[in-house]
Symmetry: C3
């Protein structure tokens, strides 16, 4: 499995999280609220209120996740950063694979 970090406007977080789980792209999405993001945009220093999504997916599903997020995320260039997982408890991994995969199964 892998973990992907993605930030989005606070008001969009729940709907993005729900859709990823409903479509079985992610087994679980945690929404961290009230995150302040500092960044440059077109030369200006910006500070936005966002939510950080911690998305749990199958190891080889990054492309699939990317496609789904690009369809439902309001930004032109959303952040999707996959972190390598070195260890996970087996029962959780089984649960993750049982709750991801083909949407219609």
């Amino acid at each position: 499995m892998n973990i992907v970090l993605c930030n989005c406007p606070q008001e969009k977080a729940d709907s993005i999280a729900k859709e990823l789980v409903e479509k079985k792209v992610a087994a679980c999405v945690n929404v961290i609220p009230q995150v302040k993001s500092f960044y440059h945009w077109q030369g200006e220093l910006c500070c936005d209120n966002e939510a950080t999504l911690i998305i749990k997916i199958r190891a080889n599903d990054f492309e699939r996740l990317q496609k789904e997020i690009l369809q439902i995320h309001p930004y032109d260039v959303p952040e999707m950063v996959e972190l390598s997982v070195s260890n996970v408890n087996e029962e959780y991994l089984k649960w993750l694979y049982a709750n991801t995969g083909d949407h219609n199964v």
Copy 2:
């Protein structure tokens, strides 16, 4: 060292964090509050209020952490996901090793 992510009910977070540090399994545990978790459980889409624990452990202590968490965590299948660390400042690493290890030392 490594970092392990674990989610738990908000009301259990502090006691789990404290116990892991007291037993020197973790050098530090950060508790992120008010996290909303979306996931499937037995075919139902669920949304719970949780806390996310960011647990800092020695590189080879995942099994030990797993044993401790399974004893004190209320879920049958808690999430324990270890992320690979590619770099850390040396002074912090020294501090981490000085504050983990045998509980009775």
Copy 3:
């Protein structure tokens, strides 16, 4: 690119985040508020209110980030833990490199 986690006192978080982005050490810094940290310090179990910074940097900029943080962070031994990134969407990566690098460019 890589992601670095760093904790700091809540009241210092915004200024540290802003400075790292202004100096183009980081393309983006997310500040997670109201984090409770449990840890040992000189044998005592402590619990502090902190913020967790999620810092997005170029893959080889950990040393540079470390130098900057050590100048502006109030702790003697701040935590700077770099997580390995296994995947990132290309457009975001391009944006990250366009917004980091030499401060005066």
